[in-house]
């Protein structure tokens, strides 16, 4: 930098020092012949080829420039030269100079150059960012594809599982039906045999020899065995079908045990070496579960124990463990080998072929115990005996839940519409309750029709959901009953069922009919429509305040709301503003005649469709009646106005308006 360190004092030199230019001359071969001032330096010496200052591939352009400038003055060629030790774009102009060229190179202002650089790098940065984002988007899209693929896979898997479950269910159903059919077919002949052997043993048709009696007794006991087998089979098939309703009741265990003693004693008769003990528990145990099923379990276990015990005893012991009833049936029989213990609850798994029995008793007992919310376990040693332990809840879980639900339903929440839900399946009832509760309704859950009737006597629900097996004609009767009854007819009834008898349901007045499985969202939407829609509005135009009062009284307790008007004009105004569903029009009004009002109503598109019932205190002439019949729904005589009649007429008018509306739509 020595050249510029000593700043000169005179003007020319000062200008030289600040110039951002470069001047030089080259000969015909492009060698430097002169180096001028101008602030910038090429970094070359005299005789050096100027091309060595050109940057890489721009030497061609420099050569082209020099070639041209040797012939004629050439202006403003941008060249890339190494100037002041760094690459720089300079604008060169040249003149012929001897057989060479004189060149002046100027640079672009520094700030312009740096702006350009900044701009380029910004663009590059934006582009880089763009590529980055698009690659991220692709990753996301890939992730999405992966997700939806695995989703599709899961769906396919689900479908497969469902298909398998369906085919399994179909097989099970075939088996169940076969068992049920065959079982029922067997019952009749077995009962004939039992009846006939009874007749023979009673000597109804004459005496029997001792040998004959022995044979008949064999016959009879074989038939009894067969009968038990068939009953077990039928029970199992009912359990499979889920058609084994729980009938819970509250009872003392001791009472049940007493019954069982009487019932089971005869079984010990042909087992002289075996004693049967049914011990009473140390303290009274109150149960709330299905008494018959519990009895059936114990009976099956005891009769099973007796079959496999030749000497010793069979003992039933009961105790309470917390809230669970534990009953043990132990015997001193042949016992069950360890490897067989896992199979004894399988149907038809008869592990001792020499012994009597169907192989159905234990599976049935276990299924029943599970139905009661418990299970049966076995402990056994070969040659020592077996102990079967039943353990079930003292109070059946569903009893508890039903009680809670009934308790909730009993607390009337005035702010929520109450929906009577008639459903024989307990689980569905819980589902209904939860759904309705979540959506601002209060469920009144009942499991049978008598209870439903009692509810209706007590209160007026906003709607009824009738979810019952409609194969059962009593349900149809109930629907009919509700829809025929003056007080209940307006309660919307939604029928949900597994059988497609929609036409019958509709004919009986069901407001909605759905096949299971029920879409709960749809149910709620419909309930909302039915229950929460604006109450139908009745406009009464009458100057007689007593008549208005009377109708108001009549309409009490219905869903209908009454709007009143004293004069014809007021009535017309109200009709236009409030669009009532039905108008009750007095024949004699202070300002207008009923015909005037009717004409006005028909003339206005807002009120044209509203059905009108004319009511009057005086007998009308035939021509008046004829004229009215053309423009109104009907005529009602005031002196005959009973609640029943009023409600009938209004309902008919509403029904007609509704069918009109749907017909128009």
């Amino acid at each position: 930098m020595g050249e510029r360190d000593d700043l000169p004092g005179d003007l020319d030199l000062a200008v030289d020092a600040f110039r951002r230019e470069l001047a030089f001359a080259v000969d015909a071969e492009g060698r430097i012949t002169r180096l001028g001032g101008g602030g910038l330096r090429l970094g070359l010496g005299l005789g050096d080829p100027v091309a060595s200052a050109a940057l890489f591939d721009t030497a061609d352009k420099l050569a082209r420039f020099l070639e041209r400038a040797r012939v004629e003055p050439t202006r403003d060629w941008e060249l890339c030269l190494r100037v002041d030790g760094r690459p720089m774009t300079v604008s060169c102009s040249g003149l012929p100079h001897g057989d060479g060229v004189a060149v002046l190179a100027t640079t672009l202002p520094e700030d312009h150059q740096s702006s350009l650089r900044a701009l380029s790098s910004s663009i590059d940065e934006i582009t880089t960012l763009n590529r980055h984002i698009s690659s991220q988007n692709r990753d996301l899209a890939q992730l999405n594809t992966d997700l939806s693929e695995s989703n599709a896979g899961i769906m396919a898997l689900h479908t497969e599982i469902e298909e398998r479950a369906n085919s399994a269910a179909t097989e099970a159903e075939i088996k169940r039906r076969l068992v049920a059919e065959v079982g029922h077919e067997f019952r009749t002949p077995i009962h004939s045999i039992l009846g006939l052997t009874r007749l023979l043993l009673d000597r109804t048709d004459g005496d029997l020899t001792q040998e004959q009696e022995r044979q008949v007794r064999f016959l009879r006991s074989a038939a009894e065995e067969l009968s038990l087998m068939v009953e077990d089979l039928l029970d199992l098939s009912r359990l499979d079908a889920g058609a084994f309703p729980l009938r819970q009741s509250q009872f003392q265990l001791d009472d049940l045990l007493g019954e069982l003693r009487g019932l089971l004693r005869p079984l010990t008769v042909d087992r002289p070496g075996v004693e049967l003990h049914i011990d009473s528990p140390s303290a009274a145990i109150t149960l709330d579960t299905d008494r018959i099923k519990l009895g059936q379990i114990v009976r099956n276990l005891v009769s099973n124990a007796l079959k496999f015990t030749d000497a010793g005893e069979v003992r039933v012991r009961s105790r309470l463990e917390g809230e669970r009833l534990v009953m043990e049936v132990s015997d001193t029989g042949i016992g069950i080998a360890e490897e067989h213990q896992g199979r004894i609850f399988e149907e038809f798994a008869r592990l001792s072929p020499g012994r009597p029995g169907t192989g159905l008793g234990l599976p049935l007992a276990q299924r029943l115990a599970r139905l009661l919310g418990g299970d049966i376990e076995v402990k056994s040693a070969v040659g020592v005996g077996s102990t079967f332990t039943i353990s079930i809840p003292r109070v059946h879980e569903e009893v508890i839940r039903l009680r809670e639900m009934e308790h909730r339903a009993a607390t009337d929440d005035r702010n929520r519409p109450r929906i009577l839900v008639v459903e024989d399946d307990r689980k569905s009832l819980f589902v209904y309750e939860r759904y309705l509760d979540l959506h601002g309704f209060q469920a009144i859950p009942v499991r049978d029709l008598p209870t439903a009737r009692r509810v209706l006597e007590r209160e007026r629900p906003a709607a009824i959901v009738l979810d019952v097996m409609l194969e059962n004609d009593t349900s149809w009767a109930f629907l009919n009953e509700v829809k025929q009854h003056e007080a209940y007819r307006d309660i919307p009834v939604l029928v949900v069922t597994v059988v497609g008898r929609e036409r019958e349901a509709r004919a009986l007045g069901a407001d909605e009919f759905w096949l299971k499985p029920l879409d709960h969202e749809r149910l709620l939407r419909r309930l909302d429509q039915l229950v929460r829609e604006r109450a139908p509005k009745i406009l009464m135009i009458d100057d007689d305040s007593r008549a208005r009062y009377l109708l108001a009284k009549h309409l009490e307790g219905t869903r209908w709301a009454l709007v009143e008007a004293e004069t014809g004009q007021e009535g017309l105004d109200v009709a236009r503003q409030q669009s009532p569903n039905v108008i009750l029009l007095d024949f004699v009004l202070p300002d207008l005649t009923a015909f005037d009002v009717l004409d006005e109503l028909k003339a206005d598109p807002r009120t044209r469709q509203i059905p009108v019932i004319v009511h009057t205190a005086r007998q009308l002439a035939q021509d008046e009646v004829d004229r009215l019949n053309q423009s109104c729904q009907g005529v009602m005589l005031k002196q005959h106005l009973s609640q029943e009649l009023a409600i009938h007429r209004i309902r008919d008018a509403l029904a007609q308006a509704q069918s009109h509306a749907t017909g128009d739509a």
């Binding site: 940057l55 082209r64 060629w77 590059d124 880089t128």
Partner: protein
Amino acid sequence: MSMQSMPNGLARWRDRWVEAALSGDRSGAMAALDAALGEGRDPREVLEAVIGAGQAEIGRRWARNEATVAQEHMATAIAHVGLTRIHASARGPHPGVGRIVVACVAGEQHGFPALLLADRLDLEGLDVRYAGADVPLGCLGALVADLDPDVVALSVTLGTNLPALDEAVAVVRRNAPRASIFAGGAGCPAARARALGVSPGADTVPETVALLSQAARLGAARSQPREGA
């Protein structure tokens, strides 16, 4: 890419592109691009024959002193937009193709050639990450360590940036030891690449694309057993 090899139909759109880009008419340039794509051309072809060849043509015009540096800058900005437009049709990498990082060495402000190559590779279905112009050494090191690429392509447009290439190669070797390294661009002679022990790029874009994708696939195939282990 030489003029002779260019399809006739696309030459028309390239000329339109060049005129529009040099006069700063961005929408005119995009119209030319869209028209080329609208003929049902392969986007890769359009990228090379319209934008790539257009930029080369603008360079030639500068050498003939028919275009200024300012015009060149403007045209390059428009070309960035054009590339981005075409890139939108890229569908993302095919499986198992291998990953390529394309970067300009530190100080190298000319990102466009590298971007064009990266986009071209992207359209080829390779897994490409474009790191940008003037990638500082430290960033390059961290990036390749993070992405574990099969190939790293380093771009040098101005020969003055060659010293930065030496450092870049060293840092890639350190941080992504299994990556094949390529060095190319107008400022990087093949001999220089070979001297550094890395592969030079080819003379044309399609050849370079072929070279890089082959190397990337090889790298991906070799790394499979390692990833499985």
